[in-house]
């Protein structure tokens, strides 16, 4: 039995299998405990590290909880006016076409105030990547109803649940942009379980690869939780998301390019 290693024997540099990527800075994330933003940040940073494009990636931070994303990524970042990240990304990509450009937006930013910019950028087919975090709520401002709030879902401005007669229907903007000719890759992923995180990372990798081949706009939606806005613990929020968000926002690829060779 003397061969069973102790913790001190295992924790050595040669046995390392997973550590925090260098593309993330050492700043502590400003997000609530259990928020999907942190996981989404990490997998984006891991994809950038694996592709070796840290010095030629430009990220665009939105308005929302992730407005401080430039503090957490060790890449060039620019912050855009509310909803205008796709317009800014278009400008950057056209001026610096050899750079990898991505926008990181929430549902209030992308699907409410920035709908026009999103749809026209997708229709023009500019070569950048949109990463869309959908938690069905305006998280930063206190959990108000967003365009993506589910029917019957409670929020601080729909305390009896969203009534579609008076408050309208939820907007499936990912399906909407998949109809447009400018998008090459449209997918919906989640980051609450290890399997989903690994799939989402593959999808992000594909999105950046397609961008490198100038195939058009790639759009990755990540269905996420907002445990503070939903008034739940992180574990309950993830279970609630599986039971309620996924039937309405089914995961998987919505549009893939005709030629899949990479």
């Amino acid at each position: 039995m003397e061969n069973i290693p102790t913790t001190a024997d295992i924790v050595k540099e040669e046995n390392l299998v997973y550590k925090k990527t260098k593309v993330l800075t050492d700043n502590i994330l400003s997000y609530c405990p259990g928020c999907g933003h942190g996981t989404a940040h990490r997998i984006i940073a891991e994809v950038i590290e694996e592709m070796g494009i840290q010095d030629k990636t430009i990220g665009i931070a939105p308005v929302g909880c992730s407005v401080l994303a430039y503090n957490f990524f060790d890449i060039d970042m620019q912050q855009a006016a509310h909803g205008r990240a796709p317009a800014l990304a278009t400008a950057i990509k056209r001026l610096l076409p050899d750079k990898f450009v991505f926008t990181y937006q929430g549902d209030g930013d992308l699907a409410a105030i920035g709908t026009a910019e999103t749809i026209h950028a997708c229709n023009r087919g500019d070569n950048f990547t949109i990463i869309f975090i959908n938690n069905g709520i305006y998280g930063m401002t206190g959990g108000q109803m967003a365009p993506t709030t589910l029917p019957g879902m409670k929020s601080s401005t729909s305390p009896y649940g969203r009534d579609t007669q008076t408050m309208g229907n939820p907007l499936k903007i990912t399906e909407l942009v998949a109809q447009l000719p400018g998008t090459c890759y449209v997918t919906r992923q989640a980051v609450h379980t290890p399997g989903n995180v690994r799939k989402a990372k593959k999808a992000l990798r594909l999105a950046f690869e397609y961008q490198g081949k100038n195939m058009g706009l790639s759009f990755v939606e990540i269905v996420s939780n907002c445990n503070s806005g939903w008034k739940m613990t992180p574990r309950n929020a993830n279970e609630w998301m599986e039971d309620n968000m996924f039937p309405f926002y089914p995961l998987g690829d919505i549009k893939t390019p005709a030629k899949l060779e990479l």
Partner: protein, 75 residues
């Protein structure tokens, strides 16, 4: 007996105690501590030595506080 052995190192002061990683562990190695860190969160700790270094906990951790080590071959 060849058995995969692993271990994790947790950055206690950066852990926010969200518990998202706890149900992902196949061997129930991790749980929240009774103690709190400097921010007042119950941080993550290893409660037994069954860890296989599968990296599930590190992959779902929103704050990237977990570093995973694995011994490839034990004779």
């Amino acid at each position: 007996m060849a058995k995969v052995k692993g271990s994790i190192v947790i950055k206690i002061e950066q852990c926010k105690g969200c518990e998202v990683c706890v149900p992902t562990c196949p061997h129930e190695v991790i749980a929240l501590s009774k103690n709190v860190n400097g921010k007042g969160y119950h941080y993550l700790e290893m409660v037994n030595d069954e860890c296989t270094g599968c990296t599930n906990c590190a992959v779902v951790c929103p704050d990237a506080v977990i570093t995973v080590y694995r011994v490839k071959k034990v004779l």
